[in-house]
């Protein structure tokens, strides 16, 4: 037993050495502070510290699970995240495939830059930009709508509209980022495959289906698994800043993270906020274990671990 372990170690020591900086980094900066998660089960007192504060059992979890809005929160969080994962996947892959078809380097660069630029912006800036278009007083969109002769829409009081605005904004901000990754993955395919396919007389669509897409599957799978881990968390900026925190939109914009913010912004309770965080992580973790197991059954190479 021991000798086998030693043998394994000797055989793998160089590869192990390559992972060492990352392993140590993660140990020091992620695992060591992790004991702090116990604060979710405590009534935190500044003068007692994390370890010295009193245990309160599961009390800190109540404000989330007892919320009369729980159904709305879960529905919106999961619904939007599912839509986001799918739409940005389809959009990014499509754009990457189309970019790959282009041969003009100059235009290619131009398109990439333009689509990538929203990734530079914070949600606060995007929110103000959207406000410039949507606000009922001086918004450009309403000016245009009025110009065609339609009646202006009070977007910040129109809850259903946000079921479309939020996914659109999310795609708009993410597509350049996703497309660049998938584009880089396409660049990794040996051109010999394409040449061979062409010689065999395959058309464009066949090439995409038989060569390009399959070579993207591993990346698609991994990114999706990772995204599923965070399916109970929402991008706070998107859901809080973009709708300008409008109270009449909450039916379609309220997610777990915005609820936590609303509930705890006054109290500033560290115990309750880590309880909520722990819940989200745990559920996401279980989901990932499940999805990973399924992926492993289908194709072990594509699974995360």
């Amino acid at each position: 037993m021991l000798s086998r372990m030693m043998k394994d170690f000797r055989k793998n020591k160089f590869l192990l050495a390559l992972t060492l900086p990352m392993v140590i980094y993660v140990f020091v900066f992620s695992y060591t502070p992790m004991f702090g998660a116990i604060v979710a089960f405590k009534r935190y007192q500044y003068n007692k510290g994390i370890l010295g504060s009193d245990w309160v059992g599961l009390s800190n979890f109540k404000f989330l699970f007892n919320s009369p809005d729980l159904w709305r929160l879960v529905r919106n969080t999961l619904g939007y995240n599912a839509v986001f994962i799918m739409t940005s996947l389809v959009a990014s892959v499509t754009v990457a495939l189309l970019l790959y078809e282009l041969t003009s380097r100059k235009l290619l660069k131009a398109y990439q830059s333009v689509m990538f630029f929203p990734h530079f912006l914070s949600w606060v800036v995007v929110a103000y930009m959207a406000y410039a278009f949507l606000n009922p007083r001086s918004g450009m969109l309403n000016h245009w709508i009025a110009d065609i002769g339609w009646s202006p829409v009070d977007w910040y009081n129109e809850a259903t509209a946000w079921m479309y605005i939020l996914p659109l904004a999310n795609i708009w901000k993410d597509i350049g980022f996703g497309a660049i990754m998938y584009y880089a993955a396409l660049l990794g395919i040996d051109p010999a495959y394409f040449e061979a396919a062409k010689i065999d007389g395959a058309n464009k669509w066949q090439i995409v289906r038989k060569i390009s897409l399959p070579s993207l599957y591993p990346l698609i799978t991994i990114l999706t698994i990772l995204a599923i881990g965070h399916i109970f968390s929402a991008d706070f900026g998107l859901f809080y800043q973009l709708p300008m925190n409008s109270p009449t939109l909450l039916a379609t914009t309220d997610v777990i993270d915005t609820y936590i913010f609303r509930a705890l912004t006054v109290l500033g309770n560290i115990g309750m906020s880590s309880a909520a965080g722990l819940t989200k992580s745990l559920l996401g973790f279980l989901l990932v274990l499940g999805v990973n197991a399924v992926v492993k059954k289908i194709n072990a190479d594509n699974s995360l671990f």
Partner: protein
């Protein structure tokens, strides 16, 4: 690559598609620039416009009223972004490469070990204690660089790329007697420039846009990165305005005419401007043809 293909008509629909999309992306960018150059009072009275009614540089003047801190912040951001990106790409790619090798015995356990941290964390307070009380990193470049250094997400991204490389490549090199480190540096790195450039670019951006570490760990203005400095300026403006309206006594000397909207947009332009020049540099590495065949041959 044949240049003649550039003007092939069959690509026209694709170009039309991208041109249409580009409009959707350029109009907002254009509106940011336009708002940043608008007169603050125009924004209220006539609303936002794609072409400013009156060209006005007040927002930029306001920001550059005291240019030294801004220039210094550019310097801090540049150092932090450059050093951070280099270190983290090295660290991430080495780890990702080892994890991509199917014959690596500890692959599964290390992957899980890393993955676990993407979901669970101990929260801010213990992290803060570690950084300040144990490691004493406050007010240093290290405090700005370390928090973003080891992105597990990028490790998995890269691992997936490396897995695409044919196993035969490594096998033949091992037979030649090359050590793992040498294989990594002389074969894997050159073959992976697109993914190295992608991760490098994304990390650079993450550093460039980061401000939270500064909020946590930096007290001295000499070490404020650009985004944080701009944010502090913006929050001061808002604080002054809020006080004025809530009728908390505002001490005289606080300027009465502060542009808010145009300043916010001007700050955005100042922050993303340099990135728009750096972006093409990375695009150079997004080239086709850097493949196994070309290295072998």
């Amino acid at each position: 690559m044949k240049r003649t293909a550039d003007y092939s008509w069959s690509k026209l629909p694709i170009h039309l598609f991208f041109i249409a999309i580009s409009v959707v992306f350029i109009v907002p960018l254009w509106s940011i620039i336009s708002i940043s150059l608008s007169k603050e009072s125009d924004l209220v009275t006539v609303g936002y416009r794609l072409i400013p009614l009156n060209l006005d540089f007040q927002a930029y003047q306001y920001i550059f009223d005291n240019p030294l801190p801004i220039l210094n912040a550019y310097k801090v951001t540049s150092i932090m972004s450059f050093a951070g990106t280099c270190l983290s790409v090295l660290m991430i790619s080495m780890c990702a490469y080892a994890l991509s090798r199917s014959d690596f015995k500890y692959r599964s356990i290390i992957t899980f070990y890393l993955f676990f941290t993407t979901l669970f964390s101990g929260g801010l307070v213990p992290y803060y204690l570690l950084m300040t009380k144990v490691l004493h990193l406050q007010n240093s470049y290290a405090a700005l660089i370390i928090p973003l250094l080891g992105s597990v997400w990028f490790v998995f991204l890269m691992r997936t790329f490396f897995q695409q490389l044919p196993d035969s490549l490594v096998e033949s090199a091992t037979l030649d007697g090359a050590g793992e480190l040498r294989i990594y540096f002389t074969m894997i790195v050159p073959l992976s420039t697109p993914v190295m450039a992608t991760v490098g670019l994304l990390q650079l951006l993450a550093y460039w846009n980061s401000w939270y570490q500064a909020l946590l760990f930096i007290d001295k203005q000499e070490l404020y990165p650009l985004q944080y400095l701009l944010q502090v300026m913006m929050s001061n403006i808002q604080e002054i305005l809020r006080n004025m309206q809530e009728n908390v006594p505002v001490d005289a000397g606080a300027a009465v005419q502060i542009p808010t909207e145009s300043t916010r947009m001007a700050m955005c332009i100042l922050a993303i401007g340099p990135m728009l020049f750096i972006f093409p540099f990375f695009q150079k590495y997004f080239a086709k043809g850097l493949t196994v065949g070309s290295v072998k041959g």
